[in-house]
Symmetry: C2
Subunit: 183 residues, 2 copies
Amino acid sequence: MAERKSDRTRAAILAAARERFGADGYERATIRAIAADAAIDPAMVMRYYGNKEKLFAAAAEFDLRLPDLGGVPRDELGEALIRHFLTRWEGDDTLRALLRAAVTNESAAERMRELFAAQLAPTLRELKVDQPAVRAGLIATQTLGLALCRYILELGPVTALTHDQLAAVLGPTLTRYLTAPLG
Amino acid sequence: MAERKSDRTRAAILAAARERFGADGYERATIRAIAADAAIDPAMVMRYYGNKEKLFAAAAEFDLRLPDLGGVPRDELGEALIRHFLTRWEGDDTLRALLRAAVTNESAAERMRELFAAQLAPTLRELKVDQPAVRAGLIATQTLGLALCRYILELGPVTALTHDQLAAVLGPTLTRYLTAPLG
DNA sequence: CGGAAAAGTCAACAAGTGTTGGCATATGCT
DNA sequence: AGCATATGCCAACACTTGTTGACTTTTCCG
């Protein structure tokens, strides 16, 4: 099956959607603006994705792509995680779109919850960590908080820090959330 | 000067606005819905607050009301802060409204930035902490992340934790952000 | 070529938004 | 009481939104 002509427009729509959802959030990102970015007619968006909700669902498909942490020393796990999140976050508009939308859109919030429950928690379980769900939640508070301050709110002091600095300061936090006994 | 009749409706509007902005975010919270909650006409909202932006500005006026931390032992500062934030957060819709709105509304984001730069950072400076701005930013990542996960996304494992548990686990994090040397 | 299917365009709709001005009512002062 | 002012309600505006259907153009295959 040869590559259909529509595949290119589909992809263009998806890319524009991710950018707009990421920059503006779910409600302020309009179908018309997305279509304009992709240089096509708004009706095309509807034809290919049905409605706005489904378009967002397609645009917010995200995989944390957690690396294999088996070989990482126990006390460096947090630092490795922070570094992974930072690069993953900056190389892809999707997560920003998901986070921005999750704050006001319930289905986006549900997807965000799943990200940590269905992707991070199982990974922790493989590391033979006890109470993986709770620890995944704790890690979410710090990593999503970092993302919020750095990429959404753009808090000056936080955007100024380098990856190395963030890894050095926040890494031990995650390590502790992973390994410290929970009262 | 006796209490004007309008003061009551002004207050009702403000309370409804905080609730709606907190529950729905800036764009999805409509003037009509706020007016309906306050059992008045939408035109009243305009008369008293000018426009939606100004209404939000009035509704999102917030003071962290940071307590005097002078007498708190150095290694318990974080725990005290976490406890303070939790109660402050839960006793007032304002911060939730501000956080929800800050994600998609620039002026709300600016106000959020000011909250940490103009209220938290100076308090840290009084504690004779070095680099108060950076440390305030670090604290923002953890506390806003907690608020996001607990009150906005409602991540199961995070909502299930008690104040005591959160203070025990997250407290040391903030203490470290306050006291650890920064590379 | 010729025609069917795919891809794209255009105009319009129904609903909801912030916002405005005019008009009625209530309040309070002299 | 009577009047000015504060307070409230109603209807409408101009605009934007997601979404739809009919129409035209392009593509592709027998």
